[in-house]
């Protein structure tokens, strides 16, 4: 087991299976099909992301460098949360970008019954170490345990 310490953007604790994207997560491209066509598992629809394409994102500990793509990204993430199709948590190796931050804040402020802990600044080593299927535990203080 290895521990990484990041900065808490949205608080919470959770244990979930890791899903890793080494490239940026294009939020609109990844979630649109799932939101549009009633896919409750939120299967990633971004064919430009070989790490995630076709994989179920709902309930996973999504490990990524940052989000990219359309500036609708934050509201798409908000929609995924509102429709209960969001990842269990978002774990960023880099400082969070403005689109993902907006999504995390919107979900935190406007949705009462949704928990999606978000931690950023976990470092390059985190993304190099974590692999799909590993067990991730996120603690309140921004410590992320990878097992």
């Amino acid at each position: 087991m290895k521990e990484f310490k990041g900065r808490v953007i949205a608080p919470g604790t959770v244990t979930a299976e890791a899903l890793v994207s080494h490239g940026g997560l294009n939020t609109l491209a990844s979630f649109q099909k799932a939101l549009q066509f009633g896919d409750k598992e939120a299967t990633c629809g971004d064919q430009n992301n070989p790490d995630l394409f076709g994989k179920k994102m709902k309930g996973k500990a999504l490990c990524l460098p940052q989000t990219i793509g359309s500036t609708t990204g934050g509201m798409v993430l908000y929609c995924a949360c509102s429709m209960k199709r969001q990842p269990a948590c978002l774990l960023f190796s880099k400082p969070i970008d403005s689109l993902a931050a907006a999504g995390a804040v919107l979900a935190d402020v406007w949705l009462d019954d949704v928990s999606m802990p978000v931690v950023d600044n976990l470092g390059e080593e985190f993304l190099a170490y974590v692999k799909d299927g590993m067990t991730i535990t996120v603690k309140d203080d921004g410590v992320v345990c990878v097992d």
Partner: protein, 426 residues
């Protein structure tokens, strides 16, 4: 560090203007705190611009949120324009696509446009990504603070107009306008507007705007580039032609990377004012040569199932075309057809532009000439048209690097597009 609010801002946060307005303020405060903002500053532009223009059924929670704002009277303090509409009957589509567009994907379009009117839409035709064009009239002044989100408009407003705006997300854009404040960080600050990249243009000919923007975007990602040597090709004045170039260049930097501001040495307002003092110490360097642009061009994946398929549609105008662009392309298409011995374009072709620009274009004799060439003009958002499984399977060509990035459309340079649509070829 916690943000320091003025008494008025604190009162709103405490609920003096109601619970919904307090949540809007809380959103802006929390958003700012993530980026270390120490204060909120007033939004000072005359108009806002919203990135969300489409009544996409999948975005139900957005419309619920908008309803909360409307019901609480938490309306936009500014009127606003919005991105282009996602459907236009004039654009070629088949029967199944029409059903998918109107009955399924964008079934909330009329409902959402009704919400936008209640929230503060400028007018019923204020739908374009290029809201800063003169005919549209949403053109911020230098130094004004904006709460925009559309990436191509943000980068244009920051770079060419010298306004100040972060790359916000949809919803955050309207919330800034509702509460009247945005957090002070990033591209709003002098320090955040300094360049951490020097880009030297050493090409032997004028670089293709959308290809150059793509190369720089992919290299610098969200950083600010200071571009040296481009004024040699596009001049030292912000003429109509230079602005059009920068519109297309900027959209590519913003979509192929995440650029929110660039400086062009000797041309853009802050570069003219401060010159190389805008470059941070230790800035990295990127040299653009003919070979580098070719390398970038060759790196684009072709997302078509059949890579040698004959194109079925050509989209030009992402971001929307300017009036001068429509006129220039009319001349080019006419000349291309004449040279090829054809009367009409050989691939169905759509030029997209703001409704207000199309209205002006219709007053000129160019409109009839372009129509005679078989080219369709439309206010549609090509990206929204392409953003579904049916259109995604079509072999569509474009010279927009934004459209290439977000959809399965295949990129060609302007000259190559001209040959394709006037003469044909794969």
């Amino acid at each position: 560090m916690a943000m320091i609010l003025t008494p008025e801002q604190q009162a709103i946060l405490n609920g003096e203007k109601g619970e919904t307005m307090a949540k809007v303020m809380q959103t802006m405060v929390k958003y700012g705190e993530v980026f270390g903002a120490e204060k909120l500053v007033p939004v000072t532009s005359k108009y806002n611009h919203l990135v969300t223009s489409f009544g996409l059924k999948a975005l139900g929670p957005v419309y619920e949120l908008m309803n909360q704002l409307i019901e609480a009277g938490a309306l936009s303090q500014q009127q606003f324009s919005a991105d282009p509409r996602p459907v236009d009957k004039g654009v070629p589509s088949n029967f199944i696509m029409d059903i998918v567009f109107n009955k399924f994907m964008y079934s909330k379009q009329d409902f959402y446009e009704g919400q936008l009117k209640k929230l503060g839409l400028m007018d019923e035709n204020a739908f374009t990504c290029a809201c800063y064009l003169d005919q549209v009239g949403n053109k911020p002044e230098k130094g004004e603070v904006l709460s925009w989100a559309e990436s191509s408009a943000v980068v244009y407003a920051n770079s060419v107009l010298g306004a100040r705006c972060n790359r916000n997300s949809g919803i955050v854009d309207i919330m800034g306008s509702v509460v009247g404040y945005v957090p002070y960080f990033g591209l709003l600050t002098d320090e955040g507007r300094k360049a951490s990249w020097i880009v030297r243009i050493e090409t032997t000919k004028k670089p293709e705007a959308q290809l150059l923007g793509s190369a720089i975007g992919m290299k610098v990602m969200e950083d600010v580039p200071y571009v040296i040597g481009l004024d040699k090709w596009i001049g030292n004045e912000l003429t109509d032609s230079a602005c059009t170039y920068l519109k297309d260049f900027g959209a590519a930097t913003a979509s192929n990377g995440a650029v929110g501001l660039y400086h062009i040495d000797g041309l853009t307002p802050e570069a003219k004012e401060s010159g190389k003092a805008l470059i941070k110490e230790g800035a990295q360097e990127y040299v653009i040569t003919d070979e580098e642009l070719q390398r970038v061009y060759d790196s684009y994946p072709v997302m078509w199932k059949n890579q040698s398929a004959k194109p079925k549609l050509c989209f030009m105008g992402c971001p929307h075309m300017s009036l001068q662009q429509l006129k220039d392309w009319t001349d080019k298409v006419e000349a291309g057809l004449k040279a090829a011995g054809n009367k009409k374009v050989v691939i169905p072709t759509v030029f997209t532009a703001p409704p207000a620009v199309l209205k002006e274009f219709e007053k000129t004799d160019y409109a009839a000439r372009l129509k005679a060439c078989g080219v369709v003009t439309s206010y549609i958002c090509p990206l929204m048209y392409m953003n579904n499984p049916l259109a995604g399977k079509m072999p569509v060509i474009t010279s927009s690097n934004k459209l290439r990035t977000y959809t399965t459309a295949r990129y060609y340079t302007d000259d190559e597009i001209l040959v394709q649509i006037t003469k044909g070829g794969n």
